[in-house]
């Protein structure tokens, strides 16, 4: 079966399940969401290879959007086009958000790719990061902990740790490089 054939088969299957769901068939709708979840995961994973932590969040966000915006699907139109437009909107939204977020939070923007995959996954990703942080020497660990994770300013961090401001900046910078190496070794 060629790619287009499988897309058409998926379209038919999902369309029927989705429309049944629109008419109130909860079991069909459940199956539709499960199938769609898998498809979305694949779609986002291919497009977010730099941000693997974001994939599952985005799958959930898109499933939620599909659900809350489902009255904007017109029954005669191809479902593929509708789902794709919704998923792409959420993907672009994520990119835009991250761009803004990164621009606001990256005073030293060369090595911060490390944090690009951890910021929004507050729970689990941060625990991993915590473990890696523990491997850093104190003069790197504390500046990163206070400025990057707790959001203090360089000044406040300097006061808190008794380090000079330039030592805090250097500590963040070198510590991030060290973390990037650790991160690479891990993955």
């Amino acid at each position: 079966m060629t790619r287009i054939d499988s897309v058409i088969a998926t379209e038919h299957e999902l369309h029927d399940l989705f429309v049944a769901g629109l008419d109130g068939d909860a079991a069909a709708y459940h199956r539709f969401l499960q199938r769609l979840g898998g498809l979305l995961r694949g779609y986002f994973r291919r497009r977010l290879q730099q941000l693997p932590d974001e994939v599952e969040d985005l799958v959930q966000e898109t499933l939620m959007a599909v659900h809350t915006q489902r009255q904007s699907y017109r029954r005669g139109e191809p479902l593929t086009a509708w789902v794709h437009a919704v998923a792409r909107y959420k993907l672009v939204d994520l990119w835009r958000r991250r761009e803004r977020h990164d621009a606001l939070n990256d005073p030293l923007d060369d090595d911060l790719a490390v944090f690009a995959s951890a910021d929004h996954e507050a729970g689990e990703a941060r625990r991993d990061l915590g473990r890696m942080l523990e491997q850093l020497p104190t003069h790197q660990r504390l500046p990163i902990l206070h400025t990057k994770l707790e959001g203090l300013s360089v000044q406040e961090t300097a006061r808190l740790t008794g380090m000079s401001e330039s030592a805090v900046k250097v500590g963040v910078h070198r510590g991030l490089k060290a973390l990037a190496r650790l991160w690479k070794d891990m993955t």
């Binding site: 079991a27 979840g37 799958v59 499933l63 919704v86």
Partner: protein, 213 residues
């Protein structure tokens, strides 16, 4: 939350979803918006006394031809923008073509007029207030359209807001013409179009704020 749990949660909230929800929202929005705009024109400016007689003349219909046709095509464009994945086709052309034709016509009118008659053709007697009045009349219609779009899912919020503002401007111009005493094509070509443009600009700003989802 695990994705499977979320799916279970959402599935329990299955339909029924009414078919043609979008059509219904747009119909309600236009009815409410136009009713408010009519009330505004009646209260703030007054419907022109000779309306019944004027509506029998070709000049009146030539004047509203542009906003009426923009309203028609604009409705289709905005409706499509509200639905993800629906192709626009050539409909974009439809929201601009009537203005282009009006401009050609207005230019011809000006070109053929006596030099002394040109300024009155362009300025009429109400040019100072026309832009603002068209935009103000469009406002309730624009707000109603934004409400309709918030129930749908525009994937290009700014563009959709601008198109909705342009459409509201066109409908607002139709309603305002029930008061407006100007009948010259050059007047409509400039001041009405500016009023619609201002409405579109407001729509773009509003779309950016309120049409994200």
């Amino acid at each position: 939350m695990k994705t499977d749990e979320l799916i279970g949660l959402l599935a329990r909230d299955a339909g029924p979803v009414p078919a043609r929800a979008g059509e219904r929202r747009f119909a309600i929005a236009l009815m409410v918006g136009v009713a408010l705009a009519l009330a505004w024109v009646q209260a703030a400016y007054g419907i022109r006394a000779d309306l019944a007689a004027v509506m029998g003349t070709a000049a009146f219909w030539q004047k509203v031809a542009m906003p009426l046709s923009v309203a028609g095509t604009g409705l289709i464009v905005v409706f499509r923008l509200g639905h993800p994945g629906v192709r626009m086709g050539g409909w974009w052309l439809g929201v601009w073509l009537p203005v282009s034709l009006l401009w050609i016509w207005a230019a011809a009118v000006l070109w053929m007029a006596e030099p002394a008659a040109r300024a009155p053709l362009v300025l009429g007697t109400t040019w100072r207030t026309c832009v603002f009045n068209v935009t103000a009349t469009a406002l309730p219609i624009g707000v109603a359209l934004l409400w309709a779009l918030r129930g749908l899912a525009p994937t290009r919020p700014v563009l959709t807001g601008a198109a909705a503002g342009w459409l509201a401007g066109a409908v607002g111009a139709c309603v305002y013409s029930l008061h407006c005493p100007e009948m010259a094509a050059p007047f409509v070509a400039i001041w009405y179009v500016l009023g619609m443009g201002l409405s579109a600009a407001l729509g773009a700003v509003a779309g950016r704020r309120w049409l994200r989802w």
